[in-house]
Symmetry: C2
Subunit: 338 residues, 2 copies
DNA sequence: TTCGCCAGAGATAACGATAACAAAATGGTA
DNA sequence: TACCATTTTGTTATCGTTATCTCTGGCGAA
């Protein structure tokens, strides 16, 4: 089934096609000047030998890998997956491939990952950013390639930024509830600072409540981030048990919000009649569950798309200094809130 | 912010540490014989220079990349994400990194992808398998590395297999319904053969119905695979409109099944009282939605874990011939069915 | 004392493509 | 026909690490 003999190289193809290895190399590039006759002869020879281009050699000699390194907290998250898809589509046309790694929401793991990725000499690196270990930061600063932080607006960014303010996004939700007369608002989130974005959302909730002169203490800790649907449901149970006069609850993600919704269903608690529920992320489920879920769409696909464009501009030299692209998340009013 | 000067190499580190480049190389390996004093001096020198190991050169010279290529249909799918996580964890201890690509459920795209991945000279390749273009098959056969097909049990595998029978899994669901006296069963799936596993599930449904002497024609085409929650809901609407005497419906995935459930909620159709609903995948949502969803757990994490073990065994030479590991998906009886 | 063994370190060449430069072939024009 | 511009092809050296072989010094056993 497999071929034990050594894989053919360009030299083998060149010999068979009666040209020099350099011409074979050119034939495998797009725009290189090779006559049609020669190129097809070469491709035919390559095909008959079962030749597969070896990018390890190409990478070393040309000092280009056509990799863009991307770190995301979790592979199992539709929002980050959308960002990766946006990136991937934007980079594909230029022949750039994504080298993906996930940090499991752990900045120590992120440090290991970033170092591993940089060893592969990517053309650029995209991190789901905000906070990182000092060493990670140093690695990024000295990497000598474009660095893009996403999903956040860091105070002191390493390089470029394509993101949004998690705190401001949650504030807009609080403002919305207050504008319709709701004042007793709770927040369901993680019980640790592992997930920096989740932490920012909770901080945004507290700040917004205080800005309205409201009590920001209805905080339900739902477990180690990221919070699952089940943990969201459990947290909602505790909220209904301990603070039954709560009028609305904002959840750190749509998944926990959906879990919370199901707990209300199980208990016969009417949403939004007795309590309003809001999420974050605008996952597909938010639009289709019953009642549909009020949430915030942080434009994950757009983040990826803009990051890809930015990378291409920087690599082309079109983009000079560090850019910060701040996106405006969209409040999606649906049935789970008034 | 970035360093315009050329990145330091092992030679620079060697000079600063007062040793030969070869010794630096050894110091960066695990088991290589370097005295502790020398090693720490080298690492210190490397750190002070901001040296980052260059694997492009290492890859070429050592003919090893420590990549395992993995293709999945979609990055935005919790089942495949679980398989990737299982793979990733199993390979990490050996220093193998995953090079991930997705095919968008398109075998032409898969062909392009497989070729791109093979150019990077991975140590092994894992495909979400079953059917591929002739050229893809040829590329895999001649790649000279272990090939693992997953999520399927192909009739004529390229190499190794870690999967299950999609048809048999759906048959078990049909058998379950028949065993509780349900005979008018429908199937909601895609309207094209793009998704080979979805197609197998539909074929399994038809065969199982025929085996029981039942009518297999209650087939609802829900759109281009993969079917979304929304498309599942629309399909359920059509089913209720056109075949209102249907007693149960099996959906090609949990996502479409959940969409179908929500449509029942919207119409006030009782599940499972008026109609039973089943899905496929055992996504988290299946366990928590109301009513919870009867489904099939295909053990996605286990697939990844076993595939990783198999790869390590093959690379070690422990595993001789091509292996086929057939897993048994688990029928999860929940509230959406009797 | 001699020999063998081994840990620790160095010297050399090579992995397979391509950047950079050079030369030959081609085509159009004066 | 001669000449220049352009296209097409070839030659040489090299990217940064490491496989492989060699060498040195120290230590224990005979």
């Amino acid at each position: 089934m497999s071929t034990p003999r050594k894989a053919p190289t360009m030299a083998d193809v060149a010999r068979l096609a009666g040209v020099s290895p350099m011409t074979v190399s050119r034939a495998f590039k797009r725009d290189a000047s090779v006559s049609d006759a020669t190129r097809s002869a070469i491709l035919e020879a390559a095909d008959s030998l079962g030749y597969v281009f070896d990018s390890t050699a190409s990478n070393l000699r040309s000092q280009r890998t056509d990799f863009v390194a991307v770190t995301i907290p979790s592979i199992n998250n539709a929002n980050f997956a959308d960002t990766v898809r946006g990136l991937s589509e934007g980079l594909k046309e230029r022949g750039l491939q994504i080298l993906l790694g996930y940090t499991d929401y752990d900045i120590q793991e992120e440090e290991r990952l970033v170092e591993q990725l940089l060893r592969r000499r990517p053309e650029a690196i995209v991190v789901t950013g905000g906070r990182q270990t000092p060493r990670t930061r140093r690695l990024l600063e000295n990497a000598g390639i474009p660095v893009i932080e996403t999903w956040d607006l860091p105070d002191n960014p390493v390089g470029h930024v394509v993101g949004f303010s998690n705190a401001a996004a949650v504030r807009s939700m609080v403002d919305h509830f207050v504008s319709v007369g709701i004042t007793r608002i709770a927040f369901i989130g993680g019980d640790a600072d592992r997930d920096t974005r989740g932490t920012d959302r909770r901080a945004g909730f507290i700040a917004a409540m205080q800005a309205h002169g409201l009590d920001p203490d209805r905080l339900i800790a739902a477990g180690t981030p990221p919070i699952s649907m089940r943990e969201g449901a459990d947290a909602m149970g505790r909220l209904l048990d301990t603070l039954p006069d709560t009028q609305a609850v904002i959840c750190v993600s749509d998944l926990s919000a959906f879990g919370a919704l199901t707990e209300c269903q199980r208990r016969g608690v009417n949403v939004p009649g007795q309590i309003a529920v809001a999420g974050f992320g605008d996952y597909e489920i938010a639009g289709i569950c019953v009642p549909s879920l009020t949430t915030i769409n942080p434009l994950p696909r757009e983040i990826g798309k803009r990051a890809a464009e930015l990378i291409l501009d920087v690599l082309d030299g079109t983009q000079a200094g560090p850019a910060t692209i701040a996106l405006e998340p969209i409040l999606m009013r649906r049935q789970s809130s008034p």
